[in-house]
């Protein structure tokens, strides 16, 4: 309605102030309703019990703020020429294309930088730790990108697979005492199996329905982990998860008789940095494998079918593509990488509990994919660095960083719904030079 009015106003060159005022008034009314209970009244301890403190000035500020803000927004919308938006979209597309082109050169450079990071003069334990966290989220983002970016399946419960990976790793490692390198693929396999099991019933659903059901499944997994005490030790979590070893050489200070650890084997002084740097390289390698895999599978028929399904499922059916199987592979492969990241998380922390796998995790990973630009590998890197690195750096701001995070998401969704760097390069090109091999006679 408002948009219609806006178009009309833009065409006529006049602004309908009455409509704008009405809109702003309505927003202010809602703000009033909310503010009166949320900021208007506050409980305080007074001598002799709990009392109420009224803060009317805050309510006034909130209402006036909302009114003015809404007014300004509506005014801007009404007066802006309609072509502007398209122009901006185009400009952003160009930037996206440019970044993508640059990524071809900058990508390997970034990898080299990432490898060199622990050896930089400025680097310390704190920096390597944050870098590990960022790379872990990059890997999760890349994993989810297969599901959301390529196959277009909005999965709000990705953390479920992350949890399955972490728990499978922890349980196998604790109960069967298998080494990291055996547990890791097993955990990935378990997560992928879960992907198939969960995917099978839900992938018939579309769009919003799928999102809601995956959200539910994510929560169910967490609740099961929380309540199945005999198996998962519920809220107590699993501790004493074995730390990864350097191909059999543990990173421990004290060594048992007749055995060696990393530092004795290489004749180094013991340093706790060894393990931290090793973990960093481990996740870097896992993430790079995820990326290589994605880049490769995009150019295979199944990858193209994912993208085609995202574009138009009906057309895919009419071309003989089995939509359920194709979506299931995307779901399972995405889940597998989530599982790998989960096992890494478990081995790094040494302790896991259901608390680490709440919906907020899913939301953060999804935010990385969506902000970066769905389907864009480099976009995920940038978004992860900004979101995870940024929130870590601004830890002092406490709850405000989540507010900023939410605000950023809203802005992007309004401003550029397909993500900042959404730009897609074709997976193959027609080289027009070579003559057609099977060409019959030319066009009729």
């Amino acid at each position: 309605m408002a948009v219609e009015a806006g178009k009309r106003a833009a065409l006529e060159g006049t602004v309908d102030f009455q409509a704008i005022l009405k809109e702003a008034g309505l927003a202010a009314l809602v703000a009033f309703g909310l503010a009166i209970s949320i900021v208007g009244v506050r409980t305080v301890t007074i001598p002799g019990g709990l009392g109420l403190e009224y803060r009317w000035e805050w309510v006034v500020i909130a209402v006036v703020g909302v009114f003015l803000g809404r007014f300004a927004l509506a005014y801007r919308r009404e007066t802006r020429s309609p072509g502007r938006r398209a122009e901006r979209e185009e400009a952003m597309d160009r930037i996206g294309a440019q970044v993508q082109r640059m990524a071809k050169v900058a990508g390997p450079l970034l990898v080299v930088l990432a490898i060199a990071l622990p050896w930089m003069p400025f680097s310390n334990r704190y920096i390597v730790d944050i870098a590990t966290l960022v790379v872990m989220y990059i890997m999760l983002g890349w994993g989810l990108n297969i599901v959301v970016g390529l196959a277009g399946l909005l999965d709000l419960g990705y953390v479920a697979f992350y949890a399955v990976g972490a728990y499978s790793y922890a349980l196998i490692a604790v109960y069967f005492d298998l080494s990291f390198w055996i547990c890791l693929p097993l955990a990935g396999l378990f997560a992928a199996t879960f992907g198939v099991l969960l995917g099978f019933p839900v992938l018939r659903l579309r769009g919003d329905y799928l999102a809601i059901v995956t959200l539910g499944f994510g929560e169910i997994i967490r609740v099961v982990l929380l309540n199945w005490y005999e198996f998962t030790r519920g809220p107590d979590g699993i501790s004493g998860i074995p730390r990864p070893s350097f191909f059999g050489l543990p990173f421990s200070r004290r060594v048992q008789e007749g055995e060696q650890s990393f530092h004795t084997f290489f004749g180094l002084d013991f340093s706790s940095m060894h393990r931290i740097v090793f973990l960093y390289y481990l996740i870097l390698a896992l993430a790079l494998i995820t990326n290589l895999f994605t880049m490769r599978i995009r150019k295979l028929p199944v990858g193209r079918a994912w993208e085609a399904l995202r574009e138009d499922e009906i057309a895919c059916r009419s071309l003989g593509i089995n939509p359920t199987n194709t979506k299931l592979t995307a779901f399972a492969i995405g889940a597998m990488f989530g599982g790998f990241a989960g096992s890494f998380f478990a081995t790094r922390q040494g302790f896991i509990s259901p608390e680490s796998f709440t919906f907020v995790e899913s939301a953060v990973i999804l935010a990385i994919v969506v902000l970066g630009g769905m389907g864009s590998q480099i976009g995920v890197v940038i978004a992860a660095v900004v979101l995870i690195g940024g929130t870590e750096l601004f830890r002092e701001l406490e709850q405000f960083r989540m507010l900023a995070f939410g605000g950023l998401m809203v802005l992007i969704m309004v401003w550029r719904p397909r993500g900042l760097l959404a730009h897609r390069d074709p997976t193959m090109l027609l080289d027009t030079d070579s003559p057609s091999a099977t060409a019959g006679k030319s066009s009729p």
Partner: protein, 310 residues
């Protein structure tokens, strides 16, 4: 509501040219609640010829296609596709299996491309199943073993061949969504042909094309018929297209078959004239249809009469 025919349904399965029946539709009925969109329709479509399905708006043409290609499960009816070596009962198959195994390809009334993918990619996706096999269901392709590279090159050559047929070689690497309307229609046909169909169903391929594009389309369809020897099922409103290129015409009105035969037969059938030059007022586009029909009819038919359809 004026129903065109009150007589008993016509279950004629003959193909005027005497060609082998590729598709046989028997007693096809599709109900949506109380609405009978396709009502006890039977006809046969010959191999290597163009069978046109015509009829006014809402006659049930698209619904017929949707039943054929498995998007709707028919309420009643049998749909047999006879590829000589093998028969398929389409009404029992899933939509994607119909395309995959029976090799029925289709286009859509409102174009359905993969807009964010390149033109070439659109054509490669159409060859999905063959390429899937060549890539060892992804496993071998991932590690670059097996004949995937070669299969992909062949797929590109096949795509290039169809790009040449629809004059889109220059646009091969552009996004399909960026093509002008007429080119999108041609691309959709090329994409369907890339899947190597035995039967190609085209839902109003000439809609929105200018006369020159429309003439080119006729040539393309004739070329496909002659060169590739496949059956074509064509929904079309443009009478000039239909009369010129089809071998066989089936006319639907309110879900029922009202006429079936050669273009000459259908043109002269009074039931068709009645359906097209009915007495209702809500005419949409049909000026040219009316003109075409009037032209083709005996001079007595009044071209300026109220026309339903479009």
């Amino acid at each position: 509501m004026s129903v065109a025919t009150a007589e008993t349904a016509n279950h004629d399965l003959t193909i005027p040219s005497g060609a082998r029946a590729l598709l046989t539709v028997e007693h096809l009925t599709m109900r949506f609640g109380g609405l009978v969109a396709v009502d006890d329709v039977s006809f046969a479509a010959g191999d290597a010829e163009i069978t046109a399905i015509i009829g006014p708006n809402g006659a049930g043409k698209t619904t017929l296609f949707n039943c054929l290609t498995g998007f709707y499960k028919p309420t009643v009816g049998r749909l047999t596709l006879d590829r000589g070596e093998k028969q398929f009962l389409l009404e029992r198959m899933d939509d994607f299996r119909i395309a995959q195994q029976a090799h029925v390809a289709r286009t859509f009334q409102n174009i359905r491309l993969f807009p964010a993918m390149s033109v070439l990619e659109n054509l490669i996706v159409a060859q999905h199943n063959a390429l899937m096999r060549a890539s060892g269901y992804t496993v071998f392709g991932l590690f670059g073993i097996g004949g995937y590279q070669k299969a992909e090159r062949e797929a590109i050559d096949w795509a290039r061949y169809w790009l040449e047929q629809v004059r889109l070689v220059e646009r091969a690497d552009d996004n399909a969504g960026d093509l002008p309307y007429g080119a999108q229609r041609r691309l959709e046909i090329a994409r369907a042909m890339c899947s190597r169909p035995a039967l190609l169903c085209l839902d109003e391929p000439a809609a929105g094309l200018n006369p020159r594009e429309s003439a080119e389309l006729n040539e393309l369809l004739l070329y496909i018929k002659q060169q590739h020897k496949i059956g074509l099922l064509l929904i079309e409103h443009d009478m000039s297209v239909v009369m010129e290129i089809s071998d066989h015409i089936v006319v639907l009105d309110y879900g029922r078959k009202i006429s079936d035969g050669t273009p000459a037969h259908v043109r002269a059938d009074p039931a068709v004239v009645r359906a097209y030059l009915g007495e209702e007022e809500d005419d949409e586009i049909p000026a040219e249809v009316a003109a075409d029909l009037a032209e083709d009819q005996d001079p007595g038919a009044d071209g300026s009469g109220e026309v339903r359809g479009g």
